[in-house]
């Protein structure tokens, strides 16, 4: 039966292209494999031609799928499940892309898209290595194509097709969507006209970082395959050293982009999530950090190998592992295995068997190949000298590697539980359990980062080394000591030992910055094209410094000091009370500031509610206003989803977000007025004090009361004396308009009082008194101060720039070397 209004063509095109992509990537894999294995150049060439054609078809198909899916989402074609699930009409245009990669299918496509781009460049550029490298990449494309193909192989579902229709997926049922069904229980042919809007995008993802962070991160993910594919190709072709130089710019580029992508995620977490920081050692974060750490190891051992012939085996291992760990992280985050330990792991799509196969099909052959060839990989028989650069490069890589193993080991706890049936859970203080170990590593690694470039390959002469390094060492000492002494770093939550480790690490990271900055001028004589490594090291040092200072000096501003806290029995323990409730219009003491909740606002085209929070310095007549916002009761889900707002200073950020709002529904005003007969001078008691009726008259002091000139208006003036010796006035009124009596109540917000002038007779006036929470407008929030967070962001930018520069430099070098050969 045809359904009116459906556009089935885009879905058919998309599904068709998915199949094309599936076939083309398989064909490219086989053809490149044949090209690699064949001995005759003519055969090689013809296989290569087929392979290139197939990969071109793959590129076209993937881009086609991308465009088709984008078309479906941006045109709100709600007959498609993907569009309905991830978008709605309210969504601003810039977030349509976020919808695209919110779902599993979209993010797999994004990943696949980057492989196409990278593969295309390899076909154009890497002449000798094209065929063996592209075998791996084409195979990866094949694996990713199976993730979005969505076909049944016997009873086993392979992949999840993003082009499925709502009505085919059991998404529409007579119970949930009665209007779309006729009396026989069949779907009406015009059902689509009743689907007025989509499900929409998770509000946490409605942030500009979510538009750019995923593409960059996935470019990082995707690019790790290139050095991996080179290493595999080197093992396969038994050309153990030849792949190293062409792979180097790729490896450096990949590490740079992956690092940037990870930290963009951190920036998003900082700006949009409310765990109060940029990093929480969440499994999702760890899973992408670990491949980066190992890629860095690989780059450093590669350099050691290139100059001295040492560390080749380690280089193979690292480049193979970094990519396998990317696949492992995909498995961890998408299989739902992290369920109990992560806040934001993807949900289980029911594709676990396929994800596990995906992992094993890369892990097993890689290790088998490495194991088979391991003995043949050339090594240098002579031991490294302790004073040689290559020795310390290796030591540094080893430390990085151990810290990576540590992190992935802790993250994999749920996997261990699953395999061995144990019931281990993460540590009580998760952050500290990571930090206390890694701070020691960071100290040693930062020192090595500082001095390694001053060491010479093979052997370093002591005198020359000291001559070149004493000045940066001295400067670093002075700088870090001034931070330690005047920087007010006294983070004593975990005792003196940990504080000492922080100070030592601050020295080490300052040392890394200073020594590498110096090296640009003394070591490589200011030749900027060669300075990529030093710049990246400066950035690494700054990043570390920013992390150390912002984490150890993070300050809670919203310690609950307000008077409205009631002391409970269980309150007495040392748990931090970081939530502070601000009553509208009442300035509240918050450290250096007096903070006032001034009001809130909404806009019809924006589902968020904005809260105006004014911070005023106590000691000067200045201040600033922050506008944290929140989705309130989003889509009927009770509660709020808050986004923080920060005041950025050069040296610190003041950061605040809403944690709770009065629940209007729940705090429904259930209390009722208690009536009192009063004459002027009489007193009425209430729970927080008493009030006195001063007089009843016709003089109105309140503003904005809606009465007309013909009305008779009576006002009762009251003075309220609260227990805490504060005094308030109130003026409930009675408006007589013809035969109608309209009482206009008055409220005393800070006393939760509502007073109503209900009538009068000879005995006096009738005053209704009600005490109710519902009159109070308030917000509960947390506020933090992050010092030196800009040092961290600056460090990331500098580091990324250094990586890209180094990558560029090595591309140029390789090109020149090639020209010489010809």
């Amino acid at each position: 039966m045809p359904y009116t209004g459906e556009q089935l063509l885009p879905g058919q095109i998309g599904t068709f292209l998915s199949i094309v992509s599936f076939v083309a990537s398989l064909l490219a894999t086989v053809a490149y494999f044949k090209a690699t294995q064949s001995q005759l150049p003519s055969q090689q060439q013809s296989w290569k031609r087929i392979a290139r054609g197939a990969f071109l078809a793959e590129i076209i198909a993937v881009i086609g799928i991308f465009v088709t899916l984008y078309f479906i989402i941006s045109n709100h074609r709600f007959e498609y499940k993907y569009a309905w699930q991830h978008s709605n009409y309210q969504l601003p245009m810039q977030y349509i892309l976020s919808c695209f990669w919110e779902g599993q299918e979209g993010s797999f496509l994004l990943w696949s898209f980057w492989h196409c781009i990278l593969g295309g460049i390899i076909i154009l550029r890497e002449k000798k290595w094209e065929a063996p490298v592209m075998v791996t990449i084409s195979f990866m494309q094949f694996a990713l194509a199976t993730m979005v193909i969505g076909i049944y192989f016997f009873d086993f579902k392979i992949g999840s097709n993003p082009f499925v229709l709502m009505r085919d997926q059991g998404m529409l049922s007579p119970e949930q969507f009665p209007i779309g069904f006729d009396s026989q229980g069949h779907l009406r042919s015009d059902y689509l006209s009743f689907i007025r809007d989509g499900n929409g995008l998770n509000p946490l993802l409605q942030n500009y970082w979510m538009v750019i962070h995923p593409p960059v991160l996935f470019l990082g993910f995707a690019s790790t395959i290139v050095p991996f594919a080179f290493a595999i190709a080197g093992l396969w072709k038994k050309d153990f050293g030849g792949w190293v130089l062409p792979a180097r710019p790729w490896a450096i580029f990949s590490a740079g982009i992956l690092g940037l992508g990870i930290m963009m995620g951190a920036a998003w977490a900082y700006e949009s999530l409310t765990f109060g920081g940029y990093w929480a050692w969440d499994p999702v974060e760890n899973a992408s950090l670990v491949p980066w750490l190992i890629a860095i190891c690989g780059i450093h051992t590669l350099i050691a190998y290139k100059h001295t012939g040492h560390s080749l085996r380690a280089t193979f291992l690292f480049f193979i592992l970094q990519h396998l760990l990317i696949i492992y992280s995909t498995f961890l985050t998408r299989s739902g295995i992290l369920g109990d330990t992560s806040v934001h792991a993807f949900t289980d799509l029911g594709m676990n068997a396929q994800l596990l196969t995906f992992l094993l099909i890369f892990v097993v052959p890689s290790f088998v190949l490495l194991g088979m060839r391991y003995k043949q990989i050339p090594t240098v028989a002579k031991e490294e000298v302790i004073s040689a650069r290559e020795f310390w490069l290796f030591v540094g890589s080893l430390l990085f590697f151990i810290s990576a193993l540590f992190i992935i080991g802790k993250t994999s706890l749920p996997v261990v539980n699953k395999i061995f049936g144990t019931k281990y859970a993460p540590a009580e203080d998760i952050e500290y359990s990571y930090n206390k170990v890694l701070i020691l590593f960071s100290f040693v690694i930062a020192i090595l980062t500082a001095i390694s470039q001053y060491l010479k390959y093979k052997q370093t002469a002591g005198a020359a080394f000291i001559k070149s390094i004493w000045l940066p060492t001295l400067i670093a000492l002075v700088a870090s000591l001034s931070i330690s002494i005047w920087g007010d770093i006294n983070y004593n939550k975990y005792g003196v030992g940990y504080l000492a480790a922080i100070h030592l690490s601050i020295f080490a990271s300052v040392y890394a910055v200073v020594a590498n900055a110096f090296y640009i001028f003394t070591g490589i004589k200011g030749k900027m094209i060669k300075a990529g490594a030093s710049i990246a090291h400066v950035g690494f040092g700054l990043t570390l410094l920013g992390i150390l200072i912002s984490a150890s000096k993070k300050e809670v501003l919203s310690w609950n000091t307000s008077g409205i806290m009631v002391n409970f029995g269980e309150q007495s323990q040392e748990n931090p009370a970081e939530n502070l409730t601000l009553v509208k219009g009442v300035a509240t003491d918050m450290g250096k500031y007096m903070v006032t909740y001034q009001g809130d606002s909404t806009h019809p085209s924006d589902p968020k509610q904005y809260f105006k929070i004014h911070f005023k310095y106590k000691n000067k007549d200045e201040g600033f206003t922050l506008y944290p916002d929140a989705f309130v009761n989003f889509k009927g889900n009770e509660g709020i989803m808050a986004n923080p707002d920060s005041k950025h200073y050069l040296h610190k950020d003041v950061f605040t977000y809403i944690t709770s709002l009065p629940n209007k529904e729940k705090n429904r005003d259930t209390s009722s007025f208690k009536d009192h007969k009063l004459q002027p001078g009489d007193t009425v008691f209430y729970s927080q004090g008493f009030m006195v009726l001063d007089k009843v008259g016709r003089n109105i002091t309140r503003k904005n009361i809606p009465y007309e000139a013909t009305d008779s208006v009576f006002a009762a003036s009251l003075t309220i004396y609260a227990k805490d010796s504060s005094k308030y006035t109130a003026e409930p009124m009675l408006i007589l308009r013809g035969n109608n009596i309209m009482p206009v109540a008055d409220t005393v917000i800070s006393q939760s009082l509502i007073l109503a002038f209900k009538g009068a007779d000879a005995d006096g006036i009738n005053l209704g008194v009600k005490e109710s929470n519902s009159v109070l407008e308030y917000v509960t929030l947390k506020a933090y101060q992050f010092p030196a967070i800009n040092v961290l962001w600056l460090g990331i930018l500098v580091m990324t720039f250094g990586f890209l520069l180094a990558s560029w430099n090595h591309i140029q070098k390789n090109r020149k070397a090639e020209l010489k050969k010809v």
Binding site: Q85, M171, T347, E383, M565, T581, Y778, T780
Partner: protein, 135 residues
Amino acid sequence: MKTSHILILVVIAVGIGILISMMGDLSTYDTIESAKAKPGKFLHLIAKLDTTNGKHIEYDALKNPNYLSFHVKDSLGGATKVVYMKGKPPTDMERSERMVLKGKMTDSAFLCDDILIKCPSKYKEEKAKISTAAK
């Protein structure tokens, strides 16, 4: 002794050190019954929100924005009161099908540091709520 041997020994020593510190940090997943057997010990409790017999979530930001209490039960029949001293109830707490609570059991209640909510997945929602309101 060659430098590489020293290096390997150092690595092994560091590795063992880390492993020991890791094992010392680890806690366990427990049921309410087994948590009651070891009062004062930090653990992860897996349970479900209990709102039967008039039990309710108690939170009043005006009285104390850092005090939350509620009741949980688990499939083995255990039940306990939970006190959380860090703020408001997590979003969708009432709709949650499972909670992971981190904290310590005491005589009066389970003192909780962190609440992780597992909601029925939005992605696996079999029957969708279709918005049919005219725009």
